[in-house]
Symmetry: C2
Subunit: 332 residues, 2 copies
């Protein structure tokens, strides 16, 4: 198959980012053309416009919580991406490393006054190199909070510069000829940018995982792995719903959630974002076990959606997809 015949998959770049890893785990590059985007909004635009067949975006991290940019784009407050539906998910274990230029024959840094906090589930990483010459660190803003114990022990007080991704952090360090900078980034990025791993698995918690969503256009045909009828009926499926409630109608949220109980649909998460219309009004994002059956109007998910739409305002189904959670649990 020629390169330009492969379906395009847009992902939040740059290459070697965790989102790239999520895209690779879902769409083999032999059959898909993976294309990095600069922002999450660009991924949505590529899929909405049809430039890309699928998109891959980060959704939540097990330690840091929601990626609000993705929520706001799915909520589509401004009507710019009305045809986007979720059709898949992927879990990628986040194992941060300290990347930089190791100093030959130097004695690796040892931590002073190491008080390892019992709340952290990952033993404190031991540097492989001398870290005393590092004067500046680059990373994505979320990474600092995931590597507190290591940073407090070995790199306390060192200047931190936020950049757009952990992969971009590695790229900047690779471009620094003096070796005074280091990046909190991934093993894959070390390979891509030719950096040394100065310390490995520096995150506070084992099992730190980021969850990604695969998005499609509403009118796009489903691939076999996205289609319930071509999958094991025992597979677990998830659905996402957004809605707003009338603030003059106090019990509406509880009533909406009771609908899911009535139809035995297990809620797996609930999130809120500002509605963008009026201060202190919110869009609710409710995720639950179950799948909207396009061909079975009397399925439980369809019944629940009907009931919810009668209670709340602007109720919108945002897709159903096969759960990959079990895969990630065994992979972490």
């Amino acid at each position: 198959m020629a390169n330009d015949e492969r379906p395009a998959v847009a992902f939040l770049g740059p290459e070697a980012s965790y989102t790239h890893q999520a895209a690779l785990s879902t769409f083999p590059p032999t059959t898909h053309s993976l294309s990095p985007c600069t922002t999450i909004a660009d991924v949505f635009t590529a899929v909405q416009s049809g430039t890309a067949h699928r998109g891959v975006v980060p959704f939540e991290n097990s330690s840091n919580g929601s990626v609000i940019f993705t929520f706001d784009l799915i909520g589509d407050l401004h009507g710019t991406h009305p045809d986007i539906l979720v059709c898949g998910e992927a879990y990628v274990p986040v194992k941060h490393c300290l990347l930089g230029h190791s100093i030959p024959n130097a004695i690796p840094t040892t931590g002073r006054n190491v008080q390892f906090d019992a709340k952290f589930t990952n033993p404190l990483a031991v540097p492989r190199s001398d870290l005393s010459k590092i004067t500046k660190l680059y990373s994505h803003p979320q990474a600092w909070g995931q590597c507190k114990a290591f940073l407090d022990t070995y790199l306390k007080g060192v200047e931190r510069q936020d950049v757009s991704s952990t992969s971009r952090a590695a790229e900047l360090v690779a471009a620094d000829p003096f070796g005074g900078t280091a990046a909190l980034s991934s093993h894959v990025a070390a390979k891509v940018f030719g950096l040394d791993v100065l310390a490995e698995s520096i995150n506070d918690h084992l099992g730190n995982t980021t969850r990604f969503l695969v998005i499609r256009r509403r009118d796009s045909a489903l691939a076999p792995q996205e289609d319930k009828h071509k999958n094991d009926k025992q597979d677990k499926w998830k659905s996402l719903l957004t809605f707003t409630v009338d603030h003059a109608h106090p019990g509406a949220l509880a009533k909406c959630l009771t609908v899911f109980e009535k139809y035995a649909l297990n809620l797996t998460s609930i999130n809120t974002r500002p509605s963008g219309v009026e201060n202190w009004n919110y869009v609710f994002f409710v995720e639950f076990d179950g799948r909207k059956e396009d061909d079975e109007a009397q399925g439980n998910v369809n019944k629940a959606l009907n009931d919810v739409s009668r209670i709340c305002k602007a109720c919108s189904w945002k897709g159903s997809w096969k759960s990959r959670l079990e895969l990630s649990t065994s992979a972490v």
Copy 2:
């Protein structure tokens, strides 16, 4: 009263920050000693340890949503701030300005290809000075997203540097003798750091407001304005509750929320954060109209708390306080 006898109020600094404005609006400096802290966690620690009588921290912004650091500290996942309760709130209108060094006698910059987006509720600000020499902008990460139209129109492509607060951004610009930098910051910061207002009210939305919480230690005596019995019985009070639910018990969340309906307690917001214990388990933060009556065990809030604690795990009341929302609405 001597300075050191005034009760200390810790706030997220530096001076001239929006949190400082919130602290000033609640605690007059004639009767309180206001003390800036470097991080939100430092404010919690100052109050928990008794170093400060009260603390003031940002909680949510009407456009950008929750301040997750504050939620995680209130949730107290690691048991470091077990005695913190919320006892007040304050709303501060966020009116960003572009601060810098104006160029004498220069012709103010005019925007090219101005396509003002109808979704923005604040008319596009007009610069008072020439902005063409600005090569670098400083601000808090949340501010960029709040000033999209202005930045896209007049400062497209100019390098942006994230700093810890809008006030710190102004401080950095004040220290730049060459005048090639500018800050997205406040009127108050312009005065404090002696900068020129190059453009005023550059945020996309009118009424962009940040909500702050006042925190106290559980054993700290209530001031008259914090005490229901010294206030008008018609005043509206709010309460905050945190809890986790058993994931083996699907309907628990809906059941918890139904309790509030049963006792006619209007839910005003619901938020979730990772529980810190197990991946994809969450702490729920539920805010509702009503006040826990310490002396009336049979009040509706106490009854609801009792019911909820029987359904969910780790249920914890995090305080009750007088709503200031009406004040903010009229002030915006």
